[in-house]
Symmetry: C2
Subunit: 320 residues, 2 copies
């Protein structure tokens, strides 16, 4: 099946989750949040991985579980990040209140566990093992992300480790669980995990690059948002790592620049001078290469890997 | 084994949980919170239930899981209730901050799942089934509790349903899981669940009664705290249900009384007049009776039930 069919399948499942009607204050926010969209990449990865070894539908509950877990993290992260909007819509804690954000998030995590073990049969222990480990790592990544805000000595390597935990391991987990549900060997499942992990890191690096270097006409949001907010992206950390003392002082002054257009323009010039974009693209391609290596190592007929290969290229080549 | 031995065993396990050192901001709050005490009744119930059918230690990980889950709910409830103190110690979100309360709570729920499935062997699907259902119900109970604050038409029956979900099902779940881990029949496990559920309800009714009728010298905290805060306890709801129009208006005026001593004294007189304490004690004994019926129905040698019977009596006869 192709990307669109898998995505459609997931949307249908999410529409027919059968969450209880009551208490309304607990479940209505979940119905709202699950319907405001998102690319559904993670559950699609689960179905695609399952399809390498059998019918994708064998992993449908687990795919939904991964998406529910992801949405649980978004609801709680939005509180922690004080975010008013998500995908252009009002966040749960803003539309309702803090308590609703916390408790609806909690019950969504429990729903994720329910879906995860539904028809998991003999795979139940294995998929819980990887799911539990991943869930913990995602929390650890979020904690590191928050810790970084108040630190001035974050290295590029630490940043990569943070995004690995906060976002990439879940992609790996989504793939591994899909594979396990159709009885894949531990070795094949592990290669798929690593494929997902490195695609996730490459994806996040691409995100950071796009923020400053996207074509404004295609990007759909303001170019340079991370620069204005002084975010410690991989671009910024790479610039810092490659700067002389003088250049560091220029960067520091730039962070206090109040004219947004000037700030973005001067930062881009400084980054160009330091070769930041190329260095980050090299890093991106390192991870993409490692990801593709692991996909090749999966012992199934090559033509079956087409959709995963295409999805990976799509995630990395996007311009928004 | 007796209550003290079981409790000691749980304390040891909690001390040696082996939570990671880093990120410190995520795990240090958990080490703090898990060591500020609590009666550890839930995990002790798990061990006692397991002991009816074999070695209690077979259910040790599951007992710890129940306690971790309980502590997760406390950390998040304390945020939602804006509580500065828990067991006389500063709450997590007060000692650290809101984000720490949310994220440390989240990771604790995941830890609970890890412990729950550790060495669960062939019982894994059964115990996840009851655990997931219970976890959802606890969230629903918390939502109902919050909803009640802004409602003026809460009935005593609704209140009992709320405390059943918010607190009692977890006692039932603790017992059922302990029994299942030692291969108890579904029927025996179910009787233990219902024993726990009704003990939990009786326990909460006792809590409400003690608030106004405890011996101040033994109680250890202010008598009448619920009255001062205008809490919709079972005492209050029973009074409302048994009041004439005139008496309702007296109760309403009392809720606005600013002199705390007067308010408590007059409320107690009103309740005495309406027979509130006796009615609530009758309700308590109904649930205690139902609980004991279910314990008797468990098909094991009678002398094995001694510690569960004693614990139930202790929970109901306490004076603080």
């Amino acid at each position: 099946m192709d990307l669109a069919s898998h995505t459609h399948r997931i949307e249908e499942e999410l529409k027919n989750l059968g969450l209880p009607e009551n208490p309304e204050g607990l479940y209505e926010p979940l119905r709202y949040f699950l319907q405001i969209g998102g690319k559904r990449i993670r559950p699609v990865l689960t179905l695609m991985a399952a399809e390498l070894f059998g019918q994708p539908d064998k992993a449908i509950n687990q795919a939904v579980a991964i998406e529910l877990f992801h949405n649980f993290t978004l609801i709680h992260d939005d509180i922690m990040d004080n975010a008013p909007l998500r995908r252009g819509m009002i966040t749960v804690h803003e539309k309702w209140n803090l308590n609703t954000g916390i408790l609806s998030g909690d019950v969504l995590l429990i729903e994720a566990y329910k879906k995860l073990v539904q028809n998991a049969n003999e795979h139940i222990a294995d998929i819980l093992d990887i799911f539990n480990r991943t869930a913990t790592e995602v929390c650890e990544g979020q904690q590191m992300d928050m810790d970084f805000e108040s630190r001035i000595d974050v290295s590029a390597a630490e940043y990569i480790e943070m995004i690995r935990l906060k976002t990439s391991v879940l992609l790996g987990c989504a793939l591994e669980i899909g594979a396990l549900m159709n009885g894949a060997s531990k070795e094949n499942a592990d290669h798929l995990y690593q494929f997902g992990e490195h695609i996730g890191i490459a994806f996040q690096i691409k995100d950071d690059i796009l923020d400053l270097y996207a074509d404004p006409e295609k990007f759909g949001k303001q170019v340079g948002g991370d620069v204005i907010a002084n975010k410690k992206t991989i671009l910024h950390l790479t610039a810092v790592a490659n700067s002389s003392k003088e250049q560091l002082s220029v960067l520091k002054n730039l962070s206090a620049e109040s004219d947004a257009t000037q700030k973005i323009e001067k930062t881009r010039m400084m980054y160009d001078h330091l070769g930041v974009k190329e260095k980050c693209e090299d890093l991106l391609h390192d991870h993409l290469g490692t990801a593709m290596f692991h996909l090749e190592e999966v012992k199934v007929e090559d033509h079956l890997k087409k959709s995963l290969r295409e999805l990976a290229i799509y995630l990395i080549n996007r311009d928004k």
